[in-house]
């Protein structure tokens, strides 16, 4: 499954970057979201997959016994998901503001800060 996900993540990266290279601001944000998913999955996959036991120590036990899922990537990704949301919201509002001000979402039309 790791190998399969490697291709999925590669596809997400390619799609994300292609979207970010478009002139539409909205597509830029879509690209950012895809890149966020791709990076989370990358960390998750590189930490190896296991479908056996989540990193929850059973009641009464003191420690986890193999095989169990690596808790560290999960902890990293958890905050990344929430932060990704915050960044998305900020980017969306920024783009909307930009659109309402400049009446365009073409990134080529906004190469300077002085015209607005």
């Amino acid at each position: 499954m790791e190998s399969l996900l490697a291709f999925v993540v590669g596809g997400l990266y390619a799609g994300g970057i292609y979207l970010m290279l478009r002139r539409s601001m909205i597509k830029l944000i879509f690209g950012l979201v895809l890149l966020g998913h791709a990076s989370n999955l990358l960390i998750f996959t590189v930490g190896r997959l296991t479908s056996d036991q989540p990193p929850l120590v059973p009641d009464g036990a003191e420690t986890l016994t193999e095989p169990f899922a690596d808790p560290l990537p999960q902890a990293l990704i958890l905050t990344a998901i929430v932060i990704g949301f915050g960044m998305q919201a900020f980017a969306l509002v920024l783009v909307k503001r930009m659109f309402l001000t400049a009446r365009t979402d073409d990134v080529h039309a906004i190469t300077t800060t002085d015209t607005f």
Binding site: L4, A6, L21, I26, L34, V46, P54, D70, I77, A89
Partner: protein
């Protein structure tokens, strides 16, 4: 703490605007001075005092202080001269609306300078070194409403700051090669360091740092410009203390870096050129402060020159001259400031006969000038004699020709300095009264006290060597011992050394210097000024500075034009191509392609389905013209990610991903709902990019994808060895007292990271809030007006 208190005290004086505050604040440097005086005897008798506090122990940086003969002498000069400077500043700037700033900066500078000379750790020494540059910048730019003030301040900062960076490189080399960051430990390792192959680069870097700070040729140009500062600053920083930091550093590092022939030649040549050039240029100036600035360059050159000679006599000469110079130059600067203050001009052509109106200032100036000329029995005479003695002494180590060159340079420097002494005192105070912008009268006591005490000290200390050994045994010998890193050092100071042929020769030369100086002054005083106006230098070092500065600015402009073009896609292209290009190059040359591993278990049907769904949804996100359709496709990717989290034992992630995905859809709908215009633009967008451009982007994006996939295949083909995985699994229950390991990591083991992350979240939310609210406010304002 002390600085903070004083800045408050300094600021509060803006209300009183009198010189009274100066007297009170001067108690601080005075108390330092008294404290350092109590250390003279213990230091002279025994071992140097070391005080140390850990600062950054992992880097070997400590806040440690070394009080030996050399640093104590500097500390005495800094605190002693500082006392009078603060009092003087109170009188000089009385009524100035920012006099509080002046006190604050001066005290800050004094603390930094004391830190610099007392540091034992070379990194903390460097930090204090830079602090003196910064306070010097503030002080030169004190009259910040004038453009030349700002220009000079920036120039001094850039020259000394750039030198400081070079010095840092040199000091780090020194610390690494020497294996210690403590000067007191490095002293004993001089030979090992000098044999090291990095000795030469290290030496050159350190020397550039010292030369820029001490205004040595060809970095001397900033010092005359620094005279834009108020006179108390010039007197303190740019003659008595800060500019001597470079000299101090050379003296301090003499046991470590000194004594080689490279050291000898660089220091004597640079110091010699600076010495002669400074003295020569000084006599053609007409501005009192300008003359003094060039003679300061001469003095600094002399000190570097003597340290370069490096013999015991030369070091003794350097130590004595250091004291002589600080005393007379500090006094003369203050006298020049008083003249300027009371008459409104500093041009020697407009000044004359002031002695009648400002008798005390005139006497102080006269005494200082006599010491500067080296007239017996002033301390200046004692200093000059030892300089000549050490110049003769060169013959023991080097060729006769070198000795002659050294002697000639010293002689020319001394004669011309003597002429300058005449220019700054005889011309303004004697002769006939001229009309000046203001009617001259005696300066207030706060402004004559300093010059009188300092110049009188020049006389008294000179007299004292005749009947007391206090100066030579208590001050000079311990300082020499520190520079030479020897315990048994004997200094010999005297006004009359006896009738041996050699000492008679020295005495004769000394007298000849005075006669020559007086002769040249009388013959030439009227013509120097007119010569300088006719002759302009075809090229000078300051033009080099300008050239470098302009070059740097146009380089920055060019680079900004090329890199900061404002096209977002351009930036992204560079990032993506760098990642795929350089990253790919490194990866494929080192690792190469790794085939996918389908064991131990071939992916099951549902896994293929999820993967396929994600890729299809990605393509749809790109291809769909409808905004809503694209949002849905994006949502599919997100939910599929959540599915993967469920399948592979990450329940926490799955819940979070599901919640976030739902919120994201709400978010998109809120933002984009009913924005047909944007939807419309999405369609327009397709027409915007040419097919060729889209193929190019596809290729670049695709190569990044291939790169990422190859990396992941390579990583996952090897088994994972993770100590952390087991660490967290084992420690979670006993230490984290929680069974959900992910949660324990988040809120306990890596709690600090989480704290940073939630702070970022808060900032992002407030960003959203203010973007919306502030625009509402602006729109409302526009509508009403």
């Amino acid at each position: 703490m002390r600085e903070g208190m004083l800045s408050r005290l300094g600021l509060s004086t803006t209300q009183t605007k009198g010189s009274l505050a100066g007297w009170i604040i001067a108690l601080l440097p005075l108390s330092f001075f008294v404290f350092f005086c109590t250390l003279i005897e213990p230091v002279a008798m025994g071992e140097p005092i070391r005080i140390s506090y850990p600062w950054i122990p992992s880097l070997g940086v400590e806040l440690s202080f070394l009080i030996d003969g050399l640093s104590l002498l500097f500390a005495l000069i800094i605190s002693g001269v500082g006392t009078f400077i603060i009092i003087y500043a109170g009188g000089y700037l009385a009524g100035h609306h920012q006099i509080g700033h002046m006190y604050t900066y001066l005290i800050l500078f004094m603390i930094s300078m004391l830190g610099l000379v007392l540091s034992d750790n070379i990194i903390s020494l460097f930090v204090f070194w830079e602090l003196t540059s910064i306070t010097s910048y503030l002080l030169i730019g004190f009259k910040h409403e004038y453009q030349d003030s700002r220009y000079s301040a920036l120039q001094a900062l850039l020259v000394t700051g750039a030198g400081g960076l070079v010095l840092l490189a040199g000091l780090i080399l020194l610390g690494v090669v020497g294996g210690s960051w403590q000067l007191s430990e490095l002293f004993g390792r001089g030979e090992a360091i000098q044999d090291h192959e990095l000795y030469l680069p290290m030496l050159i870097l350190v020397l550039i740092g010292a030369f820029t700070k001490s205004a040595q040729f060809p970095f001397h140009f900033w010092l005359p410009n620094a005279m834009a500062a108020p006179t108390p600053v010039s007197a303190y920083l740019h003659s008595a203390t800060m500019v001597k930091a470079g000299v101090f550093l050379l003296a301090r590092l003499t046991p470590v870096l000194g004594g080689t022939s490279t050291w000898f030649f660089i220091l004597t040549i640079v110091g010699g050129i600076t010495m002669v050039m400074g003295a020569f240029l000084a006599i053609f100036r007409t501005d009192l402060k300008s003359i003094l600035a060039y003679t300061t360059i001469n003095g600094l050159g002399t000190l570097v020159f003597l340290l370069g000679l490096g013999t015991e006599l030369a070091i003794e000469a350097a130590i004595v001259f250091l004291m002589v110079h600080s005393l007379y130059k500090g006094a003369l600067f203050m006298v020049a400031g008083s003249v300027d203050h009371e008459t409104g001009t500093r041009d020697i052509r407009e000044l004359g006969g002031l002695g009648k109106y400002m008798p005390i200032t005139a006497v102080a100036g006269g005494l200082a000038a006599l010491s500067m000329m080296g007239m017996p029995p002033f301390l200046g005479f004692v200093g000059k004699e030892i300089i000549y003695k050490s110049a003769f002494g060169v013959a023991e180590h080097h060729m006769f020709l070198i000795m002659l060159a050294v002697l000639a340079m010293a002689f020319v420097g001394k004669v011309l300095t003597g002429v300058s002494a005449g220019l700054v005192t005889v011309s303004p105070f004697l002769g006939s009264k001229t009309t000046t912008p203001k009617n001259p009268h005696e300066a207030p006591i706060s402004m004559w006290l300093g010059p009188v005490v300092l110049s009188a000290l020049g006389l008294l200390l000179g007299l004292s060597v005749a009947f007391s050994k206090g100066l030579q045994d208590m001050i000079v010998a311990p300082a020499m011992g520190a520079v030479l890193h020897e315990h048994e050092v004997h200094a010999k100071l005297a006004l009359w050394y006896g009738t041996e042929p050699e000492t008679l020769m020295v005495f004769g030369l000394s007298m000849l210097t005075i006669v020559a100086a007086i002769g040249i002054y009388i013959r030439g005083r009227g013509t120097f000024a007119s010569i300088s106006q006719r002759v302009t230098m075809p090229w000078n070092a300051e033009q080099g500075y300008q050239f470098a500065l302009n070059g740097m600015q146009s380089l920055a402009r060019w680079q900004t034009r090329v890199l900061q073009h404002g096209y977002l896609q351009g930036y992204l292209l560079v990032v993506a191509m760098t990642l795929a290009g350089f990253g790919g190059l490194a990866f494929f040359s080192q690792v190469g392609l790794v085939a996918p591993v389908w064991s131990p278990q071939f992916p099951m049907v549902h896994e293929w389905l999820i993967a396929g769904m994600m890729l299809v949804a990605t393509v749809l996100t790109i291809r769909l013209d409808s905004l809503l359709g694209a949002i849905v496709a994006l949502g599919v990717v997100g939910y599929a990610v959540a599915l993967i989290f469920i399948l592979y034992a990450a329940p926490d992630l799955a819940i979070t991903q599901f919640s976030i995905e739902t919120l994201t859809v709400i978010l998109f709908v809120l933002v984009l709902y009913r924005r047909q215009t944007i939807t419309h633009l999405l369609e327009e967008e397709i027409a915007r990019d040419s097919p060729a451009k889209r193929i190019r982007d596809l290729l670049i994006a695709g190569s990044v994808g291939v790169f990422i996939t190859s990396i992941m295949l390579a990583i996952t083909s090897e088994p994972l060895v993770s100590e952390l995985k087991h660490f967290f699994a084992e420690e979670s229950v006993p230490h984290g007292k929680g069974h959900n390991v992910v949660n324990v990591i988040l809120i306990d083991f890596r709690g600090l990271d989480t704290m940073g992350e939630i702070t970022v979240l808060g900032v992002a939310a407030i960003g959203v809030y203010s973007l919306i609210k502030l625009w509402f406010a602006r729109d409302a304002e526009n509508n009403t007006s």
